[in-house]
Subunit: 245 residues, 2 copies
């Protein structure tokens, strides 16, 4: 009967599915969408490829997974190798597998996004001559499916930033309310009301206001704040607190 046939068939296919074929091995790549914030605007770091295929075109930073590491480690290694950066917030995004996404060879790529504060890392070696920061809406056309990866990364960053305190990864340790607001305005791509924003942030009660001012922007000077990570973690553990902007 149909079900029995299907059953036998399924068990056969089970075997087929699981007796693998060396032929079906693939190359796994990791590509990093690196977001940076320079107190004004949200940017992404791109490099001009100095190797084939697509030499001379702009692309994300990427590399291949090695047998001796997992994907998170590969992402960290790739980022470090090409930019000198380490100890950076990274998160896996999505795995891209269109058959001809890399015309040279069958490659599946796992995208990661990273968040860094541009100013604090200015001299970490990001000045590979071929690397450059681009405004989100001024990024050039990229190779393969890298544009799609960036779109996904932006969407994810937007969602995450609304419910997790990942924004602070993009700011220096000490920051002003205005910088924090600029950051959220960049991420969400819309203007926010100054008073409402400050009221909301203060009601979350996870920032420490310092007795110190940033005098570089205004005459009056703006108080500096730091994110109180311990307090935040404690609130999350104890009351299931959600950081909600």
């Amino acid at each position: 009967m149909k079900i029995i046939n299907h059953l036998e068939e399924a068990q056969d296919l089970n075997m087929q599915l699981n007796f693998y074929d060396k032929e079906d091995q693939v190359l796994l790549a990791v590509d990093c969408i690196i977001f940076g914030f320079d107190k004004e605007n949200l940017k992404i770091l791109l490099i001009k490829r100095n190797f084939e295929p697509e030499k001379g075109k702009w692309s994300l930073i990427g590399g291949f997974l090695k047998k001796t590491e997992n994907l998170d480690q590969a992402a960290v290694r790739v980022l470090h190798t090409l930019t000198g950066l380490s100890d950076i917030y990274m998160e896996q995004l999505y795995t891209h597998s269109k058959i001809d996404r890399d015309p040279g060879q069958r490659t599946i790529s796992v995208s990661y996004y990273a968040l860094i504060d541009v100013e604090s890392h200015k001299f970490d070696g990001i000045q590979i001559d071929s690397a450059r920061w681009f405004e989100l809406n001024e990024a050039p056309d990229l190779i393969f499916d890298h544009n799609e990866m960036i779109q996904r990364a932006i969407a994810r960053l937007r969602r995450r930033a609304m419910t997790k305190p990942i924004g602070f990864e993009l700011l220096p340790e000490k920051f002003t309310m205005r910088q924090l607001q600029n950051l959220y305005e960049s991420i969400l791509d819309k203007k926010l009301d100054k008073r409402n924003f400050i009221n909301k942030i203060n009601s979350l009660d996870v920032l420490i206001k310092l007795d110190e001012k940033d005098m570089t922007v205004s005459r009056k000077g703006a108080y500096l704040y730091v994110f109180d990570k311990e307090k935040y973690n404690k609130k999350v553990e104890e009351d299931g607190f959600i950081f909600k902007i």
Copy 2:
């Protein structure tokens, strides 16, 4: 100087990263977390492995990616081959790459979750003798990192169900308000207030109330509804509507 050295080093490594090695090719698997709802409870479908390694243990449904398909296609194929199901909602979740996750061989696995209505698919061939539905909290210990995959899937389902109308994938085409509420209570694992739930759903204005009752549960009978997908899509496009429970 440091930066110049780093620059040269980086370009060298660029080459290293991109002159790939056949040695670094890996097997890519796909594993499916299949959620089902039977008008009462949320369940997952597991199979007892009839092949090594870990023969006899429970696991998710899975298989290997072939050179001729992308990951979405592989997930659809694996699901269809092992259960007979087709035309099912699926979404990519996460890529698992711990080095020893599969003790037999280096395998990276991409997890997908699928949503189906158990009743409507009772005779689609899910009765492979070794497959069974489990309540979420009664699932046995699974092989490899499959438990972790399920936890991630539950978390994702919870978040998605709050902002996208994917819940309807788990219900028959026609359903009662009580079934819809049961579904959300199962997904969120908490009781909801009947009146508030109905008020909220009605305010979303994407259901059509039929002139037809389900008489199987109560004497009075409960009106049946269908999800108006066209109306929903139109609202999303025109006003950026968000389905928010």
